[in-house]
Symmetry: C2
Subunit: 333 residues, 2 copies
DNA sequence: TTGTAAGCGTTATCAG
DNA sequence: CTGATAACGCTTACAA
């Protein structure tokens, strides 16, 4: 053992230790099959001996590949985002990619800067999570010099690689499940219409209602508790509904709380279904029936798709749809 | 306008466009004051004109600084972790640092690999979040060639830079608040003792109990709902307690649910206090009184401290203690 | 199968 | 104040 600590050992040190040229060392690292087993062993030995680790930056410069991807998200602290990140990271590490995390806070200026920064970082690919996709984002992405995958969203004309569930059918089925139980007054609780995936969710709900000749009723509130809780209190006092489908679990949990505190029994008087099947759905009382959006898998599959795109592997379908299903709990019967 | 898109424009292009040497371009980027205003303008003009963005990788290689830090966490999906990440990212972007995200899943082998990867990435500093700090981690950190800041944890002898609250006092005060109300049967709900910060929390609790000549009672359960919910059901059926302090909000919320479903009134028969003041505390019913751990700030301050360390700025105290306080809600009276 | 040498796009040290 | 020029640590033709 000569030196196991961090006094930078370079490829030259390994080369001289193993008594070969640096090119050979590089080869055993990148194309081991191209070097004679005997020398390969010798080099590997030296590498271990010196505790050598290739400098990723130098490697990146020489190869013009950084084996780094950027993950751009609006906000890390949303439960669904965090869980997706876990999926991304697990697969990234499997394929030896490094992940750069960037948040936009949903602000346009930041968004613009972030893309610039990401390009400056020389990433090989980008994972983009944004449920408020707009025309400008789409053209931004189309112009990207590196592959981009949309996570948990999709562009309606399937022009961009994406991984998500079929939001429209999910909400159609959810609505239909209430209709089949004979419910008439079925409410959809959504958020700002700017969220393009919400449009898909609402589309599914509305289609189901029309199919059953029922009147669709969509209300919108905020994702923030301080806003939506009083909103629900007021709404439930004045309106009598039999069932509600809510576009986010945390909002659904808030609705449950408002209803219960008003003395409305869930699920006897009001059935509530959430969306995403996050931890919130298991922690509410009663526990929340929820449409399961396999968010960890979405992260994992997105990352996998991105690796294929970066390697220019042939891909049959760049718009991956993952299966969803409804997890029944105690907020419905 | 010649070319605003991504056809890689280099420092050479800018130099020839501005009719100066590449060294001058580099200077206006890094030491603008060292170049004559007139030429500086000319260069800036060319930069904007060509849409030039310095290649961060080449820059990193030449300067031996990556302006990148690694954020090592056990798991992104814990609410407290996610919120801290937001704090880190906000400050990182302010100081033009890029953040590499790594998760260890709390597994030792992964942990080891991650540190290697991080060094290979040539990061300038490391933010380390791990509430299960062990001796081996500590020596690992001490041997690090780049600065490391512990987030939301601390090493008991203050040997390592860290940012956290004073866990011991926080739990002392929480316990005392119950004692002052005349409670006698006060329970501490903790998790695996391996969590070194839990030792601090328990220490504060025990000290308060001893000071009041009361018998401390610590129980341990898992952070996982499927485990702790039935555990609480069983425990509450067999034991009668007046108050409980729980080391994590999500676990406290689960305890509330178990109690309520058993017909135990919270807070009339049982007062419960959580820790962290996460979203869970606002979403439980009744809402949860919780010790506020300013987790966003911990992320932000940690990142700021790390920038100072990386710049070798003088620092009066590398063990930052942030203030905490108790947020009263409806699970206590 | 291996070595030589030319980059990769910057920064930084010299002179001038 | 500015320009050559040598690194930085690696990959990758091209030769041997």
């Amino acid at each position: 053992m000569i030196d196991l600590k961090n006094t930078k050992v370079t490829i030259y040190d390994v080369a001289s230790e193993a008594d070969v040229s640096l090119a050979t060392v590089s080869r055993v690292l990148n194309y081991p099959e191209k070097v004679k087993p005997a020398t390969r062993e010798k080099v590997l030995e030296a590498i271990k001996h010196l505790g050598y680790r290739p400098n990723a930056i130098a490697r990146g410069l020489a190869s013009r590949k950084s084996t780094t991807v950027a993950l751009i998200v609006p906000d890390v602290s949303r439960a669904s985002v965090a869980e997706m990140i876990n999926g991304v990271l697990d697969i990234a590490r499997k394929y030896d990619y490094t992940v750069l995390l960037k948040v936009t806070n949903g602000e346009d200026e930041v968004e613009e800067e972030v893309w610039q920064e990401v390009y400056a970082s020389q990433v090989d690919g980008i994972l983009y999570l944004n449920d408020e996709l707009q025309e400008k984002n789409i053209s931004q992405i189309k112009a990207s010099s590196v592959p981009v995958v949309l996570c948990n969203t999709k562009e309606e004309n399937n022009l961009l690689p994406s991984v998500s569930i079929d939001f429209e059918s999910a909400f159609y089925e959810a609505t239909k499940s209430f209709i089949d139980k004979g419910k008439k007054e079925i409410l959809l609780v959504s958020t700002r219409s700017a969220y393009s995936v919400n449009a898909l969710k609402e589309g599914g709900y509305i289609r189901a209602m029309y199919d059953a000749k029922l009147e669709p009723k969509v209300i919108r509130t905020s994702g923030r508790l301080v806003v939506n809780y009083p909103f629900f209190q007021e709404y439930l006092k004045q309106n009598s509904i039999e069932a509600a489908i809510v576009v986010r679990d945390s909002i659904a949990a808030s609705m449950i709380n408002a209803a219960c505190n008003l003395g409305i029994n869930v699920p006897d008087q009001l059935e509530i279904m959430g969306f995403q099947n996050t931890k919130y759905s298991k922690m509410s009382r009663p526990t929340l029936t929820s449409i399961d959006n396999p968010i960890y898998d979405i992260g994992a599959v997105s990352m996998r798709l991105l690796t294929k795109l970066m390697n220019k592997e042939p891909i049959d379908n760049v718009n991956v749809i993952l299966p969803h299903n409804i997890i029944l709990r105690n907020s419905t019967k």
